[in-house]
Symmetry: C2
Subunit: 209 residues, 2 copies
C-alpha cells in the first residue's frame, strides 16, 4: 500500500505529460502546466524526472518497452513471412488504437533533436530495424538489400501512425467512424499493400530491372 | 523597386517562421523570436499576419498553392493510371526535396486543432482527395471504393513526408547519403509498392475476398 502511494505521483506526471504533449507538442508545454494537471508540485517533477526532457525520455522509453511485444513472433520460422507481416501490422494497429496518445507523442517527437534522448532512440530504432530486416530477408532478398530492409519498417510505421495523427481531418473527408470495422478494413488493406508491394519490389530486383 | 522593398519584410517573416517552426514546432516558437530572426519589429507581424496563427495559415496556404502543381497531369487520360501514379510520386518527392521546411511544417502541424485554419485545411485536403480518388478509380475500382480511394493519398504523403522527417535517425541507422541516387531508388521503390499494392487490393476486392 505504501509502495503504491509512493508510485502514484510519478505515474500521474507521466499521464498528464502525455495528454498535454499530444495536444500541444512537447515544445508547447511547460513543466508548471504538467505539475498542475498532475496535481503535484514542481519539486516532484525534478525529483522523479529532473525536468521536462526527463519526462519525454521516460515516455519514449515506455513506448519502446511496451512496443517490443509487437515484434513477438516476427522471427517465428514456423510461420510464412507473409503471416509474420500480417501479424506485425495487426499488432501495430491494435497497439496504437489502445495506446494512441503514448504512440503519437513518441512518433511526433521522434525527429526532435535532444541529446539526452539521441542514444535511446538510435538504440531502440536499430533494434526494430534489425528485427524487420530479418523478416524482409525471408521474402527472398538476396543479397540482402539494405535499402529495401530499411524502408519497410519506417514506411509501415508512417502509414499507421499518420492515420491516427490525421483522424480528425480524415473523419471530415471520408465521413467514417473509427470503429472495429474500419480498423479491420484498414489492417487488411495495409497488409495487402505491403505484401504485394514487397513481392513486386523483390521481383523487380531479381529480374534486374 | 519600391514594391520590392515593401514586400521584403513579409517574406522575411514567413521564412523566419518556417525555419523556426520546423525546428521547434509551431507551439514552441514565440512571435518575438520570429520578429527577431526576421529583423522586423512586432508591429510588422501584426500588420501582415495579425499574429502567429496568421503566419501559420499563410505557410499552409503557400504549401497548398504551390503543391497544386504536383497534381498537374494526374487526370491526363492519355497516360495509363500507372504512369500517373509514377509521375505523382516523382513530383511529390522532388517537391519535398526542394521545399523541405515548408512541406514539413505543413505536415507536422496538420493535426493542430486551430479554428482559423480548419476550413482552409479541410477544403484543400478535400481537393487533393478528389483528384487522387479520380485516379484510383481508373485502376478498376468499381463500384468506387471510398475507403481505398481515401487511403492512398494520405498513405503516400505519410511515407514520403516521414522519410524527410526522420532523416537524421534514418541516416544513423542506414548509413546513407540523401543524394540523387538515394531519391531515385526511394521513388522507384515507393512507386512499385503502391502500384503492386493497389493492383493487389483491387484484385482482392474483385474476387470478393
Amino acid at each position: 500500500m505504501e509502495e503504491k502511494e509512493k508510485a502514484a505521483p510519478k505515474q500521474r506526471i507521466l499521464e498528464a505529460a502525455i495528454s498535454l504533449f499530444v495536444q500541444k507538442g512537447y515544445a508547447g508545454v511547460g513543466v508548471r502546466e504538467i505539475a498542475s494537471l498532475a496535481g503535484v508540485n514542481l519539486a516532484m517533477i525534478s525529483y522523479y524526472f529532473e525536468g521536462k526532457v526527463g519526462i519525454l525520455k521516460a515516455i519514449i522509453e515506455e513506448f519502446f518497452d511496451r512496443s517490443s511485444e509487437l515484434f513477438h513472433g516476427i522471427d517465428d520460422v514456423s510461420l510464412s513471412p507473409e503471416e509474420c507481416i500480417q501479424n506485425l501490422i495487426r499488432n501495430i494497429v491494435n497497439f496504437v488504437r489502445e495506446n494512441t496518445a503514448l504512440a503519437l507523442v513518441t512518433y511526433n517527437e521522434l525527429p526532435l533533436d535532444v541529446p539526452e534522448i539521441a542514444e535511446l532512440k538510435a538504440e531502440r530504432i536499430m533494434m526494430i530495424f534489425q528485427r524487420i530486416s530479418g523478416l524482409i530477408r525471408r521474402f527472398g532478398v538476396d543479397p540482402p538489400d539494405i535499402f529495401l530492409m530499411g524502408m519497410v519498417g519506417p514506411s509501415l510505421m508512417a502509414i499507421i501512425f499518420s492515420n491516427f495523427r490525421v483522424r480528425p481531418v480524415l473523419k471530415h473527408v471520408l465521413d467514417v467512424e473509427f470503429d472495429n470495422t474500419y480498423y479491420e478494413q484498414f489492417t487488411e488493406m495495409i497488409t495487402t499493400l505491403f505484401l504485394d508491394g514487397i513481392h513486386g519490389i523483390v521481383a523487380r530486383r531479381q529480374s534486374g530491372q
